[in-house]
Amino acid sequence: MEVFVQLLANTLQIGSVYVLFALGLTLIFGVMKIVNFAHGAFFTAAALVVTSVMPFATATLGLSLPASYLLAAIAAFAVVLCIGAVVFSFGFQYVLKDLNGSFILSIGLLLVLNGIYLAIYGGAPRSVPQVLPDTINIFGARLTEQRLALVIIAIVVTGGLYLLIERTRLGLALRAVAQDQEAAMLQGMPYRRVALSGFLIGAALAACAGVLMAPINAVTTVSGDEFLIKAFIIIIIGGLGSVAGAIVGGLFIGMVESVGGYFFDPSTATLAMFILVIAFLLVRPQGILGNAD
């Protein structure tokens, strides 16, 4: 029982961050029909901003830990949205629906951004204190409150995204553009503006994952890239462009990682993931919830 609950908690904690990250990637693909290889850079930027704003806010401004974390989160979102708006305006809007062009652009962007992060922050891992360091016991399994809060926030954000997509006018446009861009334009939807909205929402989701992970794992200038690889695995399993697929796939990969890591070791878990990917590509290339067409 203890082990089961512990593994469930680990699955949720790892998986929920993957879900947020993969949702952004899949949303950007759905609306713009591009694969954003620089998506991890949004995560990294947010996490790095947290690691510089939080110490500044506690030491220089004298704020409490929660207040400085909140301030750092706001700063992280602001920075990522600015980066997102700039790279969209000067780059991505010219490669909409262009797989080759966007591949070159996003790989190049990834290298440039990683270079900038390295120049500013250097190569050493950076960490910030947990806001909620206390540990709680659930059926004998131990979990820090920080991680519990992370899961709750991720669930709330995912739920909010679902409502946005299913219930709002912007969501209607995002779905329409993803399914048939020309038909969406014929309904009066401004494609470029809708694409920008989708791109910024995707970037914000990566930022959210980065903000949540910063107090939990040490942050380096390439932290997000590891998530990118996992997100590709998730999307292959769940189905590219599928919101539900990103959720199912993210939790599934979280489970493989926590269960595999517990009974074997992390490298076995990683190996299992790649075997799964190969199996999916062979048997069901559209993923669990993707559309064959």
Binding site: R169, Q179, D180, L186, Q187, G188, N291
Partner: protein, 240 residues
């Protein structure tokens, strides 16, 4: 053809795909209060003309005036906002969205909730089968129902001009009749209709005024009756 009876006029329109001309010097006028039809065989340029009016294609030359205003160079979104909607060839529904959401995409440009709700009811009144299937994804509908949904979606924009690109292609005769009736109803209720069809019989029967297109040009125009009696149309399009 004075300005006050003409709602849309196309003058000397030329459109090409990668340098290959698809429309050459096309001129036509749509008058208020009547259905206008364009007939023509495969590849004549009918779809190209509608896409150019809708703002999806940029013409090389020529002008499009709507309600007296030059609308050349507008984006599709701006064209929809000025009151022109297109029911595109092949319907182009949002396949995974429900019938209700497909209809709501048509009302994207509007914010008058009460009026949208009223138009929603009107559309379901035109096509009662859709009412029972509001939650069904569009891809699960029959061909006829999909066409009804495509027409309904266009009407949800509260357009002043509805362009329909081959709305009856591939449909059973009974469904063709339903669509034809609705097209007449739309016209009676105050919107202008531009109907493109390979089904010349239906198109000419409904039309007060009609055009025949061949190889990117208008080759004949007149009242629906006149065209139906002309040798060219009888031979080439009515198979008589």
């Amino acid at each position: 053809m004075s300005e006050d009876t003409t709602i849309l006029s196309v003058e000397g329109l030329c459109v090409s795909y990668h340098g290959v001309p698809a429309l050459q010097d096309v001129s036509l006028a749509i008058r208020r209060g009547a259905i206008t039809s364009i007939v023509g065989s495969n590849g004549a340029g009918k779809t190209t003309l509608m896409k150019a009016i809708a703002g999806l294609l940029v013409p090389d030359r020529g002008s499009v005036r709507f309600c007296g205003k030059d609308i050349g160079g507008r984006t599709p979104a701006e064209t929809v906002r000025s009151g022109i909607t297109l029911v595109p060839e092949g319907r182009r529904l949002f396949a995974q969205m429900s019938v209700r959401d497909n209809l709501m995409t048509g009302a994207y440009i509007r914010s008058d909730r009460a009026a949208i709700e009223a138009d929603f009811e009107t559309v379901l009144g035109y096509f009662p089968v859709l009412r029972e299937r509001l939650g069904t994804p569009a891809r699960a509908l029959s061909g006829g129902q999909q066409q009804m949904l495509a027409v309904g979606r266009a009407l949800m924009a509260a357009p002043r001009l509805v362009m329909l690109d081959e709305p009856t292609i591939g449909l059973a005769p009974a469904v063709v009749d339903t669509i034809a009736e609705i097209i007449e109803t739309i016209s009676r209720n105050g919107a202008e209709v531009l109907l493109v069809e390979q089904n010349a019989h239906m198109a000419l029967e409904l039309a007060a005024h009609a055009y025949v297109m061949e190889n990117g040009r208008i080759v004949l125009s007149g009242s629906g009756r006149e065209l139906m009696d002309s040798d060219l149309v009888r031979k080439a399009y009515l198979g008589l």
